[in-house]
């Protein structure tokens, strides 16, 4: 938008593919569900704070699943928590995305062998769009994950009929 700012004498009309326009709007305002489970949550909070400023990507933390586009699963998913995550995911409006942050949420992390209480990867209960590796990942890594998700949303053709 900045490129077009105050460049025109009169009102104007743009012709643009609607999917592109829609995707541009969606990827510029990814609302995030606040969801900290373990130490990864600290890095997620750091990403939200002023040094890394996640809001410049349009990511706004919300406290309810009904207002969000993406769920950051930041931390160790215990089996007790997994049933709750599934329920929260089901309450999110479509189109919805999931970023799995850190080794625990990706594959169980250090609990992979003896962690009887840990779900070995959150993708066993909900579909994951972007995996962010690290233990815990630095805030930059999470920002990279958001950029990857934006790339994915940019390629969406949400209004088209699915191919048969």
């Amino acid at each position: 938008m900045a490129l077009l700012h105050q460049r025109f004498e009169n009102d104007n009309v743009f012709v643009v593919p609607f999917d592109k326009f829609l995707n541009w709007a969606r990827l510029s305002s990814i609302w995030q569900m606040q969801f900290g489970l373990a130490c990864c949550a600290i890095e997620m909070m750091a990403a939200s704070a002023s040094n890394f400023d996640i809001m410049r990507f349009g990511v706004i933390p919300r406290a309810t699943p009904r207002q969000v586009d993406v769920m950051f699963v930041a931390g160790t998913v215990t089996i007790k928590m997994a049933t709750r995550i599934k329920r929260l995911y089901d309450q999110m409006p479509e189109p919805r995305y999931v970023i799995s942050m850190g080794s625990c949420a990706n594959c169980g992390g250090p609990y992979w062998e003896h962690g009887y209480h840990v779900l070995k990867g959150v993708d066993r209960v909900i579909p994951v769009d972007v995996y962010v590796p690290g233990c815990p990942p630095r805030p930059e890594a999470l920002l990279e994950g958001i950029i990857k998700l934006q790339e994915k949303i940019r390629k969406d053709s949400y209004l088209r009929k699915p191919a048969k």
Binding site: K80, T83, W112, E113, L119, K120, R124
Partner: protein
């Protein structure tokens, strides 16, 4: 009061319920009978010269020889002495008397020991699992524990 004094007084009061002891250890301990824990602990708590009014920790144990155990770390805030109590019970039929009436702290500690080792605390007011889901199979910190394959359709092992 030294550990030796505590042991002697306990032995005089309860006789056979006090089994054996190691009093020169860094943390001196006394082994007591699992079906007498409640009265022994109440006595230690109430006696003016003992006054062990602080249960620092209550742990479950699996000795891996067919026995489970409970370990009580006690401390007196007023007299500043400490003592460790131990008790053992067979793994097939693990029953220990609750001490949750003596120290309120013991309530959740015993629930945790029940959750992790399956030790049944007779007389406990609310003996449910503390950490694991209510419908979980088995007690995870037992040495012979094997994790279940599925929990509500979720695969548990890696």
């Amino acid at each position: 009061m030294t550990a030796q004094d505590i042991h002697d007084k306990l032995k005089a009061a309860f006789g056979d319920a006090v089994q054996d002891a190691k009093l020169d250890a860094m943390q001196p301990w006394i082994r007591i009978a699992p079906n007498r824990t409640a009265e022994i602990c109440a006595w230690l708590h109430d006696q003016p010269e003992m006054k062990l009014d602080y249960l620092m920790c209550l742990s479950g144990m699996d000795y891996n020889n067919g026995k489970l155990g409970v370990v009580y770390h006690l401390s007196s805030i007023e007299h500043k002495h400490k003592i460790v109590l131990k008790t053992e019970c067979p793994k097939e039929d693990p029953h220990v008397l609750t001490v949750s009436g003596v120290w309120g702290t013991a309530n959740w500690h015993e629930r945790e020991a029940y959750d992790m080792y399956g030790i049944i605390f007779d007389g406990h007011p609310d003996l449910r699992r503390l950490l694991m889901p209510d419908d979980w199979d088995g007690h995870p910190l037992r040495k012979d524990y094997k994790v279940q394959e599925f929990y509500h359709g979720m695969k548990v092992p890696y």
